[in-house]
Structure formats: structure tokens, C-alpha cells
Symmetry: C2
Subunit: 208 residues, 2 copies
């Protein structure tokens, strides 16, 4: 296990160097299954592509459902199937980048396998860890999945349109994150209504 | 890795023998984070406790939020924190059972860590694998998380009360399960409205 982690770390460092050298912002997108990773990526690349080159790596255990969606919109995308594996690793990202050949000064979104546990332990060489949580999952997630929220550079709370129909204590959710992580900004969005997507896009534009 | 799996399998066989010998039905409850595992267990033990002894093992990476809830209702419960681990294993279940000492002819619910990937590979010696999926996670889950739905002895679709507010294609969800698993019955429930809980309870009563 130690060997796997150290060899992954070495490869991740190489990815990181490559991204820095080419001024590519690589965003590792992590969340539970069905939290809305693909929907948020779709909304972001639609906006970002107006001023910068974007590409996407789609990680899934099986299927090409998500990459088909993005390809049909005309964006550069590469599907990686882990064949049972519960997370992406640095080598998979390297292969994805080799195939996609993202432009210099661009943004690449890397959608990890839907899993709020394992992906947080595997460095991909990313520039930024974006953790998405969604209202129907409940406000207690930061109290149960500590490493993920500790590791986050930014947190997105998705599906805010469902708040009227669900017992979700937003203050408790935010308090849980703040107890672990004082640096990560928290964004509230709904991919269904579009609420909050503008602010998320502005954050990316101002930072990268 | 092979050694870990084979030593887990040996321990799981011992758990299975113990459950058989004592006529205990051990239910391994698996799902994504926030799909409603605890809520469904709470509804089931409220009903089952009228005619049988019940107890609960609560598996989480951290916190005792779920076990506190069940303890406050007056039921026998044991919290197991995996300390970062992404699934329960047979040894943790053995420790839980040793502490809880469930009665003969009883039912024990084992709530696994919220994770739609890793728990499906770890035999706990359970009598029954109950996989829960929830409407807001989307209808594509059986197409992406194959092993979990393949392994299921029964599938519960939770949060059906949210169907009016979400694009969820129930036929596609059921088709995906049937393609992997023709034997697992599928139940539709809402812990919020109580819809379908009676049918789920009747299934448990008829089977165990």
C-alpha cells in the first residue's frame, strides 16, 4: 500500500510540473455519486469556453454516459473507466492528458469516481480540489467524511432548489466545513435553476 | 491485497456460521452517502421490534450521529468508526456482534460506510445485502456502479417523494438493475411520507 501511494505521488508531481509549465489549471472534481459533478462541469465549461480553452477527463467505474454528454456539446473529453477501481490515480490522469493534449493557458476538469472517501487520498497533481455536496445528501456530510472536506480547496453545495422539500440545516453544514477547513470558499448553486452558477464562474475567472 | 481479502473471507465465514447457528438475519445495508440508510433502518426496526428482537451496527468513518439517533429511540446499537476506512470488514462486524450480543431468532442491521463502490467487495458474513439508491442521485446509478447492484439481494429506491421535482426516469433505473440482476426485488419507498415502508416490512416478515 505504501509503495502504491509513493509511486502515485511521484507521478502526481510530474503531472503537477506539466500543468504548471503549461499554465493549465487542473481541477479535481470529487463528490458522492449523483451529487451533480457532471452538471456543474457542463455549466462551467459552457461559461469558461467563451474566454479560455477547456477540456474534460471523465472518470467512472463503467459506462461513457457522462463523456457522451460532453462530447455531444462539442467539447474535448476523454472517458477513463477504472474497471472497478474506486478512484482515479495520477497515471490515469497522465494518460488522459496525453490523449487530450490540452492547450497552454487552459482549464481541464477531472471528474473523479463518485465516492466521498477514497479519492481524497490520491494526489492527481491537480491545481485545485473542488468538492461538491448536494442538499438531498443531508447537512451532516462534513461531520462524517472528514478527509474530503479537509482536503477541499473549494466546496460547492448543489441542488439548492430542493431546500424547500428537504430537512437541510445549511448553518450546520457550513459549521461542519468551517470546523475542518477555514480556507475553502463555499458556493451555493442549483444546476436546475442556474442559481449561483454566475458567482462560480466569476470565481474561476478571477482566479485562473 | 489478496491476503487481506482471504483473511476477511475466513472471518466472514465464521460470522455466517454464527448467524446461521443462532438463526439471526444479518442485513448488510449499503448505499451512497445520504441515500437514507439510517432513516430506512429506523423505519424497519420500529416495525420489526413489534414481533422480533432487533439490533444495529452503525458503520461510519467518523462521528456517532447515526448511533445516537438509534440509541435515543431505545434500541440496541453499536457504533463502529473505521477511522478513514471506506468500508466495514468481517472483523469489525464480529466485534460489533460480540459487544451487542443479539438474541437468537433476531434481526441485526449493519449500516456500512456510505460508499457505492468498496463495500460490495467485502464479505461481512451477512445473510442479505440490501442496496439503497435514492431518487436525487439519478437513474443512471446501476449503469455506473455495477458491482453494487450485481451483489444486491434486494434494492430499495428511497426518496420517491422528490420525483415531482427531479428528472428521474424510473423505467431506466429499473432496466439498469434488471440487466445486472434478475433476482433482487426492487422496493420504492419514501421515509418522509412513509410510502412503501409497509411493503418493505411485509417482505422482511414473510422472509425472516
Amino acid at each position: 500500500m505504501k509503495n502504491i501511494m509513493s509511486s502515485n505521488h511521484e507521478l502526481a508531481e510530474k503531472n503537477r510540473e506539466y500543468f504548471k509549465l503549461n499554465n493549465i489549471c487542473a481541477v479535481n472534481v470529487m463528490a458522492s455519486p449523483g451529487a451533480g459533478k457532471t452538471s456543474i462541469i457542463v455549466d462551467l465549461i459552457k461559461g469558461i469556453s467563451k474566454y479560455s480553452d477547456v477540456s474534460v477527463i471523465e472518470g467512472d467505474i463503467a459506462s461513457s454516459i457522462d463523456s457522451d454528454k460532453i462530447e455531444n456539446m462539442g467539447f474535448k473529453v476523454m472517458q477513463i473507466n477504472t474497471g472497478g477501481g474506486c478512484h482515479l490515480d495520477a497515471n490515469m490522469v497522465k494518460e488522459g492528458v496525453n490523449a487530450l493534449k490540452p492547450n497552454k493557458d487552459s482549464i481541464i476538469f477531472i471528474e473523479n469516481v463518485g465516492n466521498l472517501v477514497c479519492p481524497s487520498s490520491f494526489d492527481l497533481g491537480e491545481s485545485l480540489k473542488m468538492v461538491i455536496s448536494s442538499v438531498p445528501e443531508g447537512d451532516d456530510k462534513p461531520y462524517k467524511y472528514l478527509s474530503m472536506f479537509e482536503a477541499a480547496d473549494m466546496v460547492v453545495l448543489n441542488k439548492t432548489d430542493l431546500i424547500p422539500y428537504i430537512d437541510f440545516d445549511k448553518d450546520n453544514f457550513i459549521k461542519g466545513i468551517k470546523a475542518l477547513n477555514l480556507n475553502a470558499p463555499i458556493f451555493e448553486v442549483s444546476c436546475k435553476t442556474g442559481e449561483g452558477i454566475k458567482e462560480l464562474l466569476e470565481y474561476f475567472r478571477s482566479k485562473f
